[in-house]
Symmetry: C2
Subunit: 184 residues, 2 copies
């Protein structure tokens, strides 16, 4: 039976979304990590990627000030660390130190890559815009870095090797089912 709601609580739990780790850096070279679920590819040429971040978050100003960020995609084996980065603020802790994540130099931007992630989009800030209670950061993807073993030669993710993390809401996660891959 269909239920109708105009109160619209937690509409954003209806579409379990990939968790991603955004890295950024301040003018003193201090790096931060934030876990996000509200993000998407938005253009192929030029390659553009959008990420929605609340102004309350420490990374918000770091990205605005530095004009760049990296989108890191994680596999389920490091879920605990991904969750940690969504629950703590870079104002209080150094998330690279606390998680043990390895900070690796990016190719084209100052923000670091998280070595333990399977792929990374290095982004230069292209646009930013207030949408409601979040800021929509649009980055031009100027370099892509990935683990060679994570991808098929066609560019598709090897889900026999990589288990991307999906956020169901309320601190609950899952991954994709590697046995139900269908090509139509």
């Amino acid at each position: 039976m269909k239920v109708y709601s105009e109160k619209i609580k937690t509409f954003y739990y209806l579409n379990p979304s990939l968790a991603a780790l955004i890295t950024c850096v301040d003018s003193h070279g201090y790096s931060n990590i934030i876990t996000v679920a509200w993000h998407a590819s938005i253009s192929a040429y030029p390659p553009l990627y959008g990420v929605s971040i609340s102004p309350k978050r420490h990374s918000h100003n770091l990205i605005l000030d530095s004009g760049e960020f990296v989108v890191n995609f994680a596999s389920f084996e490091i879920l605990d660390k991904v969750h940690y980065c969504g629950k703590h603020s870079g104002r209080d802790v150094n998330k690279f130190e606390e998680t043990g994540f390895t900070s690796t130099k990016a190719t084209r931007v100052g923000a670091p890559l998280i070595q333990e992630c399977y792929a990374h989009l290095e982004c230069r800030l292209w646009d930013h815009r207030v949408y409601g209670d979040h800021l929509w950061f649009v980055g031009e993807v100027i370099s892509v870095d990935y683990d060679e073993e994570a991808l098929h030669p066609t560019g598709l993710l090897r889900i026999d090797e990589i288990s991307p993390i999906y956020y169901l809401g309320s601190n609950t996660y899952t991954t994709i089912d590697k046995n139900r891959r269908v090509k139509l």
Copy 2:
């Protein structure tokens, strides 16, 4: 081993994203459906949802002209129909007729709901903006409709009942793994 790429082909296959069906309607009451993978929640208050659609697509002008759209979320059992709606144009075929999807009246907008989908976000166009080769449509979510059995009382999706569709690229899909749900 990390590989670096500045050619940046198919960066959008690195993050398998939920497939969604966007419905819209023209001034004659003729409805269309388009399958998208580039979309995200972007604000909680007000509730805003963004969808990236190429200007080449038939739905692009329908949404601009009507100022509204519905985001429908589908389960894996109807994957064939979801795929069909991504591969054909509403200029050539009536996708409701071809798929057999049931068109249901929405609560607050003229665009229809797809009855066979487990949840629906009725959106009024809030903003639109060219980002590269796509248009970014931002909708205010003014009503949410969902199958009662699709959600836990907490608002979380019942992944024992519902298997959302994820697009891996190149006509390849999968769903989430209901046996690896973890609450941290």
